[in-house]
């Protein structure tokens, strides 16, 4: 027995099966994105830090909006062409739709790359600098590593093996015999071995044939000192601490969260000239505010919008003419400017002054977390929708010849999904870019 109403509509409901199905599916999608938008509201209302505003490129977002709306139009045209049994026009309009989808994703990729290569660093006093950190410029580097102690129940000391900068990690056991640290040996270690003198489920210390150098992000470390470091899985490595600072090229200062917005670590690192410029900038905006609302009695320190303009400064600040040394000397920000090699002042931040730093990935703040989750899921929907529509275009000819109405129905259902994806973006754009 055939399943009824796959192509023709059931008279009393007026719908064919797939149309009922897609509307139900979209209802569930509404709940999915509804949950995410509720999460956005929850996080924004409850944020204990200034919610980032205007950090995305509005022009790119706007172009993407137009691109998606255009594709929503062309997908309808493709469907209409099928209804009018014009195969070539269908292929044309569907191709434009797919092209739009590709354009959207490419623009999105540029936006993502921009965010993922850009860093923010929070000093321990709350002030923030933003800018660029080159690969490895933030590593804790340990040289002359000669021994590794790790927990055998957790498998291989992966953190060590993955973070070797120099040298070949060849392990020796306590009798000085070379070890092949493969799965079966690790299993032996985990089970314990009387011959090797290892208690089951204990920790084991292996020495290295020749010293190696290890460099790791601080986020993978539990702690570190001059003599070694402990990774977060408990693996202990001995060696000599060689480097322990973060080198950063700064393109923005943000001191809103600092106890004293005009005198804090960020400014001390960047040097007197930038500090002076920053203070002038802040004072200018505060004076401007006071002047404008003189008779209203507003407290400038309670106006989030003013704080956002007054205590944030984009670098390089244009009128830097004199150059002085920063707090640390050596390679402070002003020196870099003086050399003229770098567009942005470069600072070397001691680890103890850093509270937290990350690129603008989900880890940086809940804003970026929800931004990436929302746009990532939306992008996934764009890709899936494009794949389905593309399938209808490339492999649809046979069905078109057999039963054109069936293909038209499929494209209609795919188009409904495409409209939904478009609609989600219509909400995403203002929520993430403009608000």
């Amino acid at each position: 027995m055939e399943i009824p109403y796959t192509v023709t509509a059931r008279p009393d409901t007026g719908l064919y099966n797939a149309k009922v199905g897609i509307w139900l599916f979209l209802a569930s999608e509404v709940m999915l994105f509804g949950g995410l938008f509720s999460g956005y509201i929850f996080l924004r209302i409850g944020a204990d830090y200034p919610w980032p505003e205007g950090v995305l490129n509005n022009l790119l977002g706007f172009i993407n909006t137009l691109v998606l709306i255009a594709s929503s139009v062309t997908v309808v045209m493709a469907w209409a062409s099928l209804k009018m049994r014009q195969w070539n026009r269908y292929v044309l309009y569907m191709s434009i739709t797919l092209l739009c989808a590709a354009t959207f994703m490419v623009i999105k990729a540029f936006e993502y790359t921009d965010k993922l290569t850009h860093y923010g660093l929070h000093f321990s006093d709350g002030s923030i600098v933003e800018g660029y950190i080159d690969t490895g410029a933030d590593f804790v580097v340990l040289k002359d590593v000669t021994s590794v102690r790790f927990d055998t129940t957790k498998g291989a000391p992966n953190y060590v093996l993955r973070n070797v900068l120099e040298g070949e990690p060849v392990f020796l056991n306590k009798d000085g015999v070379e070890i092949n640290l493969n799965r079966s040996y690790l299993r032996t270690l985990a089970r314990g071995s009387e011959r090797l003198g290892i208690a089951p489920a204990g920790s084991v210390e292996l020495t290295l044939r020749e010293p190696i150098t290890i460099g790791s992000r601080a986020s993978r470390l539990m702690n570190h000192s001059d003599e070694g470091m402990t990774f977060r899985d408990g693996t202990v490595v001995n060696g000599t601490l060689e480097r322990d600072h973060v080198t950063m090229r700064v393109d923005r200062i943000d001191t809103r969260m600092a106890e004293d917005p005009t005198d804090n670590m960020a400014l001390q690192y960047l040097g007197d000239t930038i500090t002076e410029r920053f203070r002038r900038h802040a004072q200018f905006h505060i004076d401007d505010f006071n002047e404008r609302y003189a008779d209203r009695g507003f407290d400038p320190m309670e106006n989030a919008e003013l704080l956002r303009t007054a205590y944030r400064l984009k670098l390089p600040a244009p009128d830097l003419d004199t150059v002085k040394r920063g707090r640390l000397g050596g390679s402070s920000g002003d020196d870099a400017l003086a050399d003229g090699k770098d567009k942005y002042p470069q600072i070397q931040v001691e680890r103890e002054d850093v509270r937290f730093y990350s690129n603008f990935s989900p880890a940086y703040s809940t804003y970026y977390a929800i931004y990436f989750t929302l746009t990532g899921l939306h992008g996934l929907h764009v890709i899936c929708g494009a794949l389905v529509l593309g399938y209808f275009m490339v492999f649809g000819k046979k069905m078109y010849q057999r039963n054109p109405e069936h293909l038209a129905n499929r494209v209609e259902v795919g188009g409904l999904f495409w409209h939904f994806v478009d609609l989600v973006w219509i909400f995403l754009f203002p929520v993430l870019y403009l608000m």
Partner: protein, 652 residues
């Protein structure tokens, strides 16, 4: 297929005649398409049933180990249990044979997860819904058979990932079945090589699969009910079972996505280091976590319980659906208040979306919010009570046949009643603050789920087994299954109420060592005769001694399942044969198909002439006490004919 089947309804005599060779391509399918990757809703239903029953057994075993730890915290596990644990998980989870706290936490979390997401919901909704619902509405199959197959396989992949997580170095998830952040995020997070290869992460990934599966399943069920009802199957002629399935499918469709959001966010917190659910300044192991913070743990709870509460009704309604079919059939009486039950279940479905925060009174979300949720929670008891009352009144004046199915259905009513009524006090935040996270809550929802819902599902299996296999299940084994179940379920769950009210916390793995020093109330003094039964040394019987009683209830309950398992397999070959397609003399359409129903289900296009529960209609000719939905009226007048605008399925 018959082109003009408007007058000819299938009757019992000729259904077998067409049994063979009616659908030729079915016989040419290779075995793996027929049994493994089948698109036939009945096969998929059976697949769901078998898979979920295996999961139920696993979940049950975890609970037995936990009950040992509660009853005898200082004794080594019995040989058999210890062997099983060590065989599967290795020896690091036992400490001199005793259950460690992390093993207890792991089993606790996974017991809940498996029972709810992999056991009861797939059995109740997916298995019964898949097998019975299309037959009852007279459809040849689900609206999207391939999607249906995908739904099952996604479920099985999810279930497999969940099971596989036991074997990871970290073991499976340990943060409770609710998986609350921040605990669930920071557990197995800091001290591991690879956050991806942890039980907590795999729990989330498995949930994404299970959620996707239920999404496909619910789209399928709703579309089938809306679009594939047989000619004459108007909404108010639809069996209550299908109404229930429709509501469940909507609950799954709309309530599961927020949990998917929560899972995605928690996954992002674990894998990408975001802080959706992690507040600023979170400390783990005396160290500040290297995270940005700024997130909100309450958000997780809101997202979780937005699913979690509708999920309760997803668990519950299949049992109601089954029992609403069984009671009329075995009492030979129409279902009392069919219409009010339909409206009640719709209201129930709606209200279940706005009661979720009654799980969160203790979070400090504010009295005003709590007040709103107290009101809605009390409101939702009204449709629940309507459903239960209608079922009870349906018994009135019936000539009840106490088959195994009816016994379970009968016991469901008071057992679910206890579960439901003990939930009422929890609706009020004032009382909930005292009872929250105690064994009172455990007792409450286990009364709903175990002797309530599971009894309903057992009843359904006994009821529809003849349609699936052509043979009855053994009534004798059925009774051996029923009575021990009824007794030991109560032994296991009833004392929980007293313990809970005395303040016994639900997550103590050591059987309440702390409790024994502070609040261990004496139930019977040492010289009381009841103490004499349980205690040889003349010691008083205390609140903690109930642990031992309950644990023995649990283990004997496991033994009580053996007759059922034997029954299922033994009866396939040796059960009493059915000599009719309608052995129970039931009215709904699934009993008009051949046994077992072939691919495509019906030999002739089914047509529906009357309501689903026409039992004992006076003046029926020939004299019998039921009228099938598909039996044309003896005097086919215009009034009883399906109206002309009732469409026929395409292809007819």
């Amino acid at each position: 297929m018959a082109g003009t089947a408007t007058t000819a309804a299938p009757d019992h005599a000729d259904t077998h005649a067409g049994d063979h060779g009616h659908d030729h391509h079915e016989h040419h399918l290779p075995w793996w398409q027929k049994y493994l990757f089948s698109t036939d809703h009945k096969t998929i239903g059976i697949q769901y049933a078998l898979a979920s029953m295996v999961f139920l057994l696993v979940g049950f075993f975890l609970m037995m180990v936990m009950r040992w730890s509660i009853a005898y915290p200082d004794r080594a596990l019995p040989e058999a249990m210890a062997w099983l644990v060590e065989f599967f998980l290795g020896d690091r989870w036992l400490e001199e044979g005793r259950v460690t706290s992390s093993l207890y936490n792991m089993f606790g979390a996974m017991h809940g997860t498996i029972m709810v997401f992999l056991g009861v919901v797939p059995l109740g909704f997916a298995a019964f819904g898949n097998f019975v619902m299309p037959l009852q509405i007279g459809a040849p199959d689900m609206a999207f058979p391939k999607l249906n197959m995908w739904s099952f396989w996604l479920f099985l992949i999810g279930g497999t990932i969940m099971m596989a997580s036991f074997f990871l170095p970290t073991g499976a998830a340990q943060a409770g079945w609710t998986n609350y952040s921040p605990l669930a995020t920071t557990l197995q997070f800091v001290d591991v090589h690879d956050v991806f290869m942890t039980g907590q992460t795999w729990w989330l990934i498995a949930m994404v699969f299970v959620i996707s599966s239920s999404l496909l399943g619910s789209v399928n069920v709703i579309t089938t009910i809306i679009n594939l009802r047989a000619r004459g199957m108007t909404w108010m002629r639809m069996p209550f079972f299908c109404w229930g399935m429709l509501v469940i499918a909507f609950l799954l469709l709309l309530a599961f996505p927020p949990l998917e959001v929560a899972a995605i966010m928690q996954l992002s917190d674990r894998l990408f280091g975001s802080s959706f659910f992690l507040p600023t300044g979170l400390v783990e192991g005396n160290q500040h976590l290297n995270i940005s913070g700024g997130g909100n743990p309450l958000l997780y709870q809101h997202l979780f319980w937005f699913l979690g509460h509708p999920e309760v009704y997803v668990l519950l309604l299949p049992a109601f659906c089954i029992i609403a079919e069984i009671i009329p059939c075995y009492t030979r009486r129409p279902l009392w208040g069919y219409k009010s039950m339909v409206y009640a279940v719709l209201v129930l479905g709606f209200l279940s979306f706005i009661v979720w925060a009654h799980h969160m009174y203790l979070t400090g979300m504010g009295t005003r919010v709590a007040t709103f949720f107290q009101i809605t929670t009390v409101l939702i008891s009204i449709p629940s009570v309507i459903l239960l009352t209608c079922l009870m009144i349906s018994l009135w004046g019936g000539s009840i046949r106490f088959t195994s199915a009816m016994l379970f259905a009968f016991a469901f009513l008071p057992m679910f009643g206890i579960g439901g009524l003990t939930g009422l006090p929890l609706a009020f935040s004032l009382i909930d603050l005292q009872l929250h996270d105690t064994y009172y809550v455990i007792g409450h929802f286990h009364y709903v789920v175990a002797p309530g819902i599971l009894f309903g599902l057992f009843a359904g299996i006994y009821h529809w087994y003849p349609k699936i296999t052509g043979r009855f299940m053994s009534e004798r084994l059925g009774r051996w299954h029923f009575w021990p179940n009824l007794i030991f379920m109560n032994v296991l769950f009833l004392p929980m109420f007293w313990q809970g009210m005395a303040g016994f916390h639900r997550r103590w793995y050591d059987g309440g060592a702390y409790f024994s020093q502070t609040a261990n109330k004496e139930l019977f003094s040492g010289d009381h005769w009841i103490s004499g039964i349980f205690k040889a040394d003349g010691a008083a019987l205390t609140m903690l001694d109930l642990n031992v009683l309950m644990s023995w209830g649990a283990w004997l309950l496991a033994i009580a399942q053996i007759p059922f398992i034997i029954n299922i397999f033994w009866s396939i070959r040796h059960g009493k044969k059915c000599h009719s397609d309608n052995p129970w003399d039931a009215t709904t359409l699934e009993w008009t198909t051949p046994t077992p129903p072939p691919h495509g289900n019906f030999l002739k296009e089914p047509v529906v002439y009357r309501s689903a529960y026409d039992y004992s209609v006076p003046g029926t000719t020939p004299a019998k006490d039921f009228l099938g939905q598909g039996e044309p009226p003896a005097d086919a007048t215009a009034a009883t004919q399906p109206s002309p605008d009732q469409p026929a399925p395409a292809g007819h």
